[in-house]
C-alpha cells in the first residue's frame, strides 16, 4: 500500500516539478509571475489530444508537437504582451495582471471551442501495459511520465549549468542591464526563455492528461495554484528548489489524501504555501533572487 | 540629543559598522562625513528604524530607539530625507507636505464621515501650515503642481519641507547636495542654515568635505565602519587620520 502510494507521489511530483520549472524559470529570468502558465499547460494537453484524435498522430510525436505549440504560445505572449510592458518599464504587478487576462482568454476559448465537458484520449492511445513488482502495480504510462519529466528536467539543468547559454541566463537573472552591457542578447534570451518555459508547461499538460486521462478547459487552474505553492516553497526563481518542492508537494498531497482525507489533499498545498509565506518568504531552500536595477 | 553608543551592524559576514559612538548635540548642524561606502547611510537607516542594529544602542532625548518601527521614530521627532530623493511624484506639492502632517491631524472617523466643522478646520489649518512650509523653501507658488514636474534642486527643497512638516526636533539629511552643481549647492547650504536658525537640529551626512566644513558646527568622520575622528571643522581639517583617509583615496573634497 505504501509503496503504491509512493509511486503515485513520484508520478504526480515529477509533473508538478516539470510544471513549476517553467514557471520559476520565467520569474528568474524575466522577473514576471506568469499566471498564464496554467492555461498554456491546458493548451498543451488539448493540442496533444487534438493531434492524436484528428490526425491519429503517434503519442510521442503528439507530445513533441504539443510542446512546440505551447512553446510558440509562450513566445507569442512574450512578444505581444510582456515585451511592450518591459519597454514601458511597467511596475511588477502590471505584467502579472496582463497574464491573468491571457489565462482567462485561453481557458474561455478552449471552453468555447471544445466545450466544458471532460475529453479523453481515444481507446488504445495510452499504453495499457502494467507490471507488478512485489505488491506494486506499475502502469507503463507512469514509467513513461516519470521518465519524460525527468529527462526534460535533466536537459534543462545541464543546459543551464554547463553551457554558455546558461551562463548568459544567470547573468540576466542577476541584472539584465549588466548582462546587456556584456553583449548578451537580452531580448532574445527573454523570448527563448518564454518559449522553453511554455514548452515545458505544455509537456506537463500532456503528461497530466495522460495520467488522469481527463482534459478540461479549466485544468490549468488547480495546477497553477499548485505551481505557485511550489515556487514559493522552493524559492522564487530557484530551479533546483522548484524540483525539490514539486516532488515534495506531490508526496505531501498523495500521502495526505491516502492517510488523512481526500479533501485535505487539495488544501495541503495552500496550507504549506501560507506557512512558508509567513515563516520564510524566501522559500524553504534558497534565497530570493534579488534583481538589481 | 541623539546619543549613539557602540553601534554595530553586519550583513551576513560583512561588517559595515563597528563600535560607532558619537553624540549629536541639540541645536546646530552636525555632520558625519566619510568616503563613499563608509557606512554613513547605514547609520541613518539604523536611527530611523529601517534596519535593526546588530550591536549597541541609539537613544533620542533619553529614549531608547531599539525595536521602534520607522513611523514611531518619526513620531518621536526625527525626520529624514534621502540621498536619492523620494518624494511622492504623483501628488501635488501641497499634498506631499500634508503627508508629513499625518500624525498631527487628529480627527476621528466619525468627524471625518460627517465632515464636522472640527474636521474641516483641521484640514484647512493643515493646508495653511503646508503653504507656510512651502514658502520657507520658496515653493509656495507651485503648491498645486505635481511634484514630478519639479527640477532636481526643487525636489530636494520639497523633501525638506515635507520632512519639516512632521515637526521634527532633529532633521537627518542624507547627502543633501548629491548630484547638484555648485550654484545649487550654495542655495541649498543657505536653505539648511535657515532651517537650523528656525530651531531645528540638523544632522547631515555627506562625503563632500568642503560643503560640510563650511556648514557644520561639529563633525564626525566615519571610515570603513569606524569613527576615526570627531571635533570642530578646524580640528578635523588638521587631523592626520582624516587627511590620510581622504588623501589615501585621492578624492579630497572633490567628490561631487
Amino acid at each position: 500500500m505504501l509503496s503504491q502510494q509512493l509511486l503515485n507521489a513520484l508520478t504526480l511530483g515529477s509533473v508538478y516539478a516539470l510544471f513549476a520549472l517553467g514557471f520559476t524559470l520565467v520569474f528568474g529570468v524575466l522577473a514576471v509571475i506568469n499566471l498564464s502558465h496554467g492555461a498554456v499547460f491546458m493548451v498543451g494537453s488539448y493540442a496533444a489530444l487534438f493531434l492524436v484524435t484528428r490526425f491519429e498522430m503517434p503519442l510521442w510525436l503528439a507530445l513533441l508537437a504539443a510542446m512546440a505549440v505551447s512553446g510558440m504560445l509562450g513566445l507569442l505572449i512574450d512578444v505581444l504582451i510582456l515585451k511592450p510592458l518591459r519597454a514601458r518599464n511597467a511596475p511588477h504587478l502590471i505584467p502579472m495582471i496582463a497574464t491573468i487576462g491571457v489565462a482567462i482568454t485561453l481557458s474561455s476559448s478552449a471552453q468555447g471551442i471544445f466545450g466544458a465537458e471532460i475529453l479523453r484520449f481515444p481507446e488504445g492511445t495510452i499504453p495499457a501495459g502494467e507490471f507488478i513488482i512485489g505488491d506494486v502495480h506499475v502502469r507503463a504510462i507512469e514509467i513513461g511520465i516519470v521518465g519524460i519529466a525527468f529527462t526534460l528536467m535533466a536537459v534543462l539543468f545541464l543546459a543551464i549549468r554547463r553551457t554558455q547559454l546558461g551562463r548568459a541566463l544567470r547573468a540576466i537573472a542577476e541584472s539584465p542591464k549588466a548582462a546587456s552591457l556584456l553583449g548578451i542578447n537580452v531580448e532574445g534570451l527573454f523570448h527563448g526563455t518564454s518559449f522553453v518555459a511554455a514548452a515545458l508547461g505544455g509537456a506537463a499538460g500532456v503528461l497530466i492528461g495522460l495520467d488522469f486521462n481527463a482534459i478540461t478547459p479549466l485544468m490549468g487552474q488547480p495546477i497553477l495554484h499548485k505551481g505557485i505553492a511550489v515556487i514559493i516553497l522552493g524559492g522564487m526563481g530557484d530551479i533546483r528548489g522548484a524540483l525539490i518542492a514539486g516532488m515534495f508537494l506531490g508526496f505531501a498531497e498523495v500521502m495526505s489524501k491516502a492517510y488523512l482525507s481526500s479533501q485535505l489533499g487539495d488544501a495541503v498545498a495552500f496550507g504549506l504555501l501560507f506557512l512558508i509565506l509567513l515563516v520564510r518568504p524566501s522559500g524553504m531552500f534558497g534565497r530570493v533572487l534579488e534583481r538589481k536595477a | 540629543m541623539l546619543a549613539i553608543s557602540k553601534l554595530g551592524k553586519h550583513f551576513g559576514g560583512l561588517s559595515v559598522l563597528e563600535d560607532v559612538s558619537f553624540d549629536v548635540p541639540a541645536g546646530g548642524i552636525f555632520g558625519l562625513i566619510g568616503p563613499n561606502g563608509a557606512g554613513k547611510t547605514t547609520v541613518f537607516n539604523l536611527i530611523t528604524g529601517l534596519l535593526k542594529p546588530s550591536a549597541g544602542n541609539i537613544s533620542f532625548e533619553g529614549r531608547d530607539l531599539a525595536g521602534l518601527a520607522p513611523h514611531s521614530v518619526t513620531r518621536l521627532g526625527i525626520a529624514r530625507t534621502f540621498q536619492n530623493i523620494r518624494i511622492f511624484k504623483e501628488m501635488t506639492l501641497l499634498e506631499n507636505v500634508m503627508i508629513g502632517m499625518h500624525q498631527h491631524l487628529a480627527y476621528g472617523p466619525v468627524a471625518l464621515f460627517l465632515n464636522s466643522p472640527a474636521c474641516r478646520a483641521a484640514e484647512a489649518e493643515a493646508r495653511q501650515r503646508a503653504l507656510e512650509l512651502l514658502s520657507w523653501v520658496r515653493l509656495d507658488h507651485r503648491a498645486e503642481m505635481l511634484a514630478d514636474n519639479l527640477s532636481y534642486g526643487d525636489q530636494r527643497k520639497l523633501e525638506f519641507a515635507r520632512a519639516l512638516a512632521t515637526k521634527p526636533r532633529l532633521l537627518l539629511l542624507d547627502e543633501p547636495v548629491a548630484g547638484m552643481n555648485p550654484a545649487e549647492k550654495t542655495v541649498l547650504m543657505e536653505e539648511i542654515r535657515n532651517i537650523c536658525q528656525r530651531g531645528f537640529g540638523v544632522f547631515l551626512i555627506e562625503h563632500d568635505m568642503r560643503f560640510v566644513m563650511g556648514l557644520c558646527d561639529r563633525v564626525a568622520v566615519l571610515n570603513f565602519g569606524r569613527i576615526i575622528a570627531e571635533g570642530s571643522p578646524d580640528e578635523i581639517r588638521n587631523n592626520p587620520d582624516v587627511i590620510e583617509a581622504y588623501l589615501g583615496r585621492e578624492d579630497e573634497g572633490q567628490a561631487s
Binding site: P84, A98, I104, I232, F270, L277 | M91, T166
Partner: protein, 285 residues
C-alpha cells in the same frame, strides 16, 4: 404602466447586478489605492454570501442583522489573515490572497452546512432595489470622504513609496490592514445582498475567475477616482448581455479586455492624466 412592470421584471436582476458589482469593484479599489493587489475579494464576497444565507435559512435572523453579519464576518477573517500576510508586498501578497481564495473555495466545497458543490437553495429574496442603492450611496459617500482626508492621502503615499511614507510618520501596516479589512467588509455585504436576490448560491461563483472579474472592473474603469470602478462594473455587467452571441466566449471577452487595458490604457477608460503609475512600486517582499 404594465409595460414598465414587464420591463422591470425582465431587467431588475441586471440592475441589481450592476449595483452589487459596483460595490465589489469599490472593495478592490481600496486595496489598489494602497498599491496592493488582493485577489481575495471574491472569497470575501463568498464568505458574506454563505454567512448571510445560512443565517437567513437556518437561524431566521432579520435581514438587517443578516447583512451586518455579511460584513462583519469577512472583516474578522480579513483581520486574521491580513496581519501576517500584509507584511508581504507586491507579487507575494497577490499570491497569498490567491491561495486564500482557493482555501475558502475548497472549504465551502467540502463542508456539509454549505451544501457542498450543490450550494444553497431557496434563500429568501429579501434584497430590494433601494437596499442596494442605499448601501452603494453610503459606501461611495464614505469612500469619497476617506479619499479627501489624511487617510486617503496616506493610501496614496503608501502606493507611491511605502518606505518614504513610513518615515513621514504613517503607520503603513495599519493603513494597509485597514484598506484590506474595509474592502473585505464591502465585498461581504455585496455577497449578502447578492445571495438574497439570486435565490441560490454555489462555490462556483466565488472562485479565481470572479476575483479576476472584480479586478477587471476596477482596472477597466480606472482606479484614479471612485467613479472609475463603478464605470467598469457597469460596462462589464452590461456588455455580456448586449453581446449575447458571445455567450460561450464571455470569459474571452473579459480576458482580452484586461490585456488590452493593461497594454493600451494603463490608467483605465477615460482617465487620461493623473495617476501615471498604477502601482508606483510593485515588487519584492
Amino acid at each position: 404602466m404594465e409595460w414598465l412592470d414587464n420591463y422591470w421584471s425582465t431587467y431588475n436582476t441586471l440592475v441589481y447586478s450592476i449595483g452589487v458589482h459596483a460595490l465589489l469593484a469599490l472593495s478592490i479599489w481600496l486595496t489598489l489605492a494602497c498599491g496592493l493587489l488582493s485577489l481575495a475579494n471574491a472569497a470575501f464576497m463568498g464568505i458574506g454570501a454563505y454567512v448571510s444565507a445560512l443565517l437567513s435559512l437556518q437561524a431566521g435572523w432579520p435581514f438587517a442583522a443578516v447583512l451586518a453579519a455579511a460584513g462583519v464576518v469577512p472583516a474578522l477573517v480579513a483581520l486574521i489573515i491580513g496581519i501576517p500576510t500584509l507584511r508581504l508586498s507586491g507579487v507575494y501578497l497577490a499570491m497569498a490572497t490567491l491561495a486564500f481564495g482557493e482555501v475558502v473555495r475548497i472549504i465551502v466545497l467540502n463542508l456539509e452546512i454549505t451544501g457542498g458543490p450543490e450550494g444553497l437553495n431557496g434563500i429568501p429574496q429579501s434584497t430590494q432595489g433601494w437596499h442596494i442603492l442605499a448601501i452603494l450611496a453610503f459606501t461611495i459617500y464614505g469612500l469619497a470622504r476617506l479619499r479627501r482626508s489624511r487617510v486617503g492621502r496616506a493610501f496614496e503615499s503608501i502606493r507611491e513609496d511605502d518606505v518614504a511614507a513610513s518615515l513621514m510618520g504613517i503607520d503603513v501596516a495599519r493603513h494597509k490592514l485597514f484598506a484590506f479589512v474595509l474592502g473585505a467588509t464591502i465585498a461581504g455585504v455585496a455577497g449578502g445582498l447578492n445571495a438574497h436576490f439570486t435565490f441560490f448560491i454555489s462555490p462556483r461563483e466565488y472562485g479565481f475567475e470572479n476575483a479576476v472579474d472584480i479586478l477587471t472592473m476596477a482596472i477597466l474603469g480606472g482606479i484614479g477616482s471612485l467613479v472609475g470602478p463603478m464605470r467598469g462594473a457597469t460596462i462589464l455587467t452590461l456588455l455580456p448581455e448586449l453581446l449575447r452571441f458571445l455567450h460561450e466566449f464571455r470569459g474571452v471577452f473579459n480576458g482580452i479586455v484586461l490585456v488590452l487595458v493593461v497594454l493600451f490604457l494603463p490608467k483605465g477608460l477615460w482617465e487620461p492624466r493623473r495617476i501615471k503609475a498604477l502601482f508606483a512600486r510593485g515588487g519584492r517582499a
